[in-house]
Symmetry: C2
Subunit: 239 residues, 2 copies
Amino acid sequence: MPKQTFFNLPDDKREQIVQVAIDEFADNDYDHVSISRIVARAGIAKGSFYQYFDDKEDLYGYLIGLLSEAKRRYMSLDQPDPTHSGIFAYLRWTVEAGLGFELAFPRLTKVGLSALSYSGFPTSIDAQIHAATQGFYQQLVETGQRQGDIAPDLDPKLAAVIFEAVLTAAGHYVMEQVLHADAHGSAHYEQEHAGDRLIMEHPAVKELFARTMDILEHGMGNRAALPPPNEKQQAELES
Amino acid sequence: MPKQTFFNLPDDKREQIVQVAIDEFADNDYDHVSISRIVARAGIAKGSFYQYFDDKEDLYGYLIGLLSEAKRRYMSLDQPDPTHSGIFAYLRWTVEAGLGFELAFPRLTKVGLSALSYSGFPTSIDAQIHAATQGFYQQLVETGQRQGDIAPDLDPKLAAVIFEAVLTAAGHYVMEQVLHADAHGSAHYEQEHAGDRLIMEHPAVKELFARTMDILEHGMGNRAALPPPNEKQQAELES
DNA sequence: CTATAATGTGACTGACCGGTCATATGACCG
DNA sequence: CGGTCATATGACCGGTCAGTCACATTATAG
């Protein structure tokens, strides 16, 4: 936790420091983040930094806290019920919301990503996050199996791995496409991007996601509950 | 390229240096690889290192060369023809061979992986490898579409992204499982692991891969060429 | 105005880094 | 023996880093 001194700072100075720190952590992995650079860019003395934070890890933890709180708030809007709308619709919403957050807070998101890349940490924040994500998907798969959305004989762990891989990859793919048509402006901390979920309405993006969900649904879906090929056709094909 | 001096070294000393370097690059990303540590662990003087190599990048390039040559040789064995055996069988072979290599040379493989994680390089080796991998999968998808193995209306780029994501993730998943039942011994450079493709014969691994390929095949396969639900059933379902 | 507490400051410490260089060693040759 | 040449060595250089500390400045209170 930052020291009280930090929170006593005038708002603009405090926010300036946070913004500079976010930029630094977004552009460098943990070990390459330089406190010297941060204080230089923020226009404060090195000693002042250590009046505000215990050390580098303290600052980092604070930023991660900002990130997770912002994401928690963002993701809790309009959250649908997976048992009502079906597992794949819920999944689509989750990915869309995650992408929306990334578009609204790209720098803050990158702070979290560069955290994942390297970790000289207690029991590795990386592993914790990964385990949590896996748990989330696995639970989703099990729910889907109970509801008959997903093939019941599918190993939930494998399914979770595949879900995470595909959705993450598709998300990155979309972000890449979107960012190439972007002005590259450095986003401002806590700036409001209320309308940013709109890119999801772009036809190409919709199509892309629809196709991805389609692949997952046909690949993992409960074929017993879907129209099966009847015996006559099967016989014809085998002849 | 290492200097001639390096190749004039007695074999055991040279191999000792290579082994230490592989371990160092396997355990740290490029910027955290310490020449000081390498020379200490290899029992040579700092100055001697610079008699053998121009600089850190020279050593790294040499290791990458060893890796790619070893992998090229390993992957060129028993390579099946994608046009004969069908795209998905070919894909299964590719993943199996890649996994076999990783099991035979785990430390060397990690050298390549930590290369991917960070790169302060010319035009980023990372990006080059990624582009090459994507190209490989994309070409495979296009071939599959021409052969009727893959749905013709599927965007090959998206399909390539998904292939890479799923197969990489499934590979890591298997490696994780396998390594947990392993003695953790540090492998010796260029040691022969001729029988290592055998783990692919383990029933659980076979099942896992079969299921993964099944998901991809059903998700991306050419449904027009597969037994489609007939109109009667379709109508029944819609009622 | 003075006493006290809070905050700001940047030179400094000690550690590690990649890379250099003057010097030492030892093998081979005449 | 002397001369030459490849190789070995580790102290050293300039740099960056996280973190400290003695001191300066400012705010607050009596």
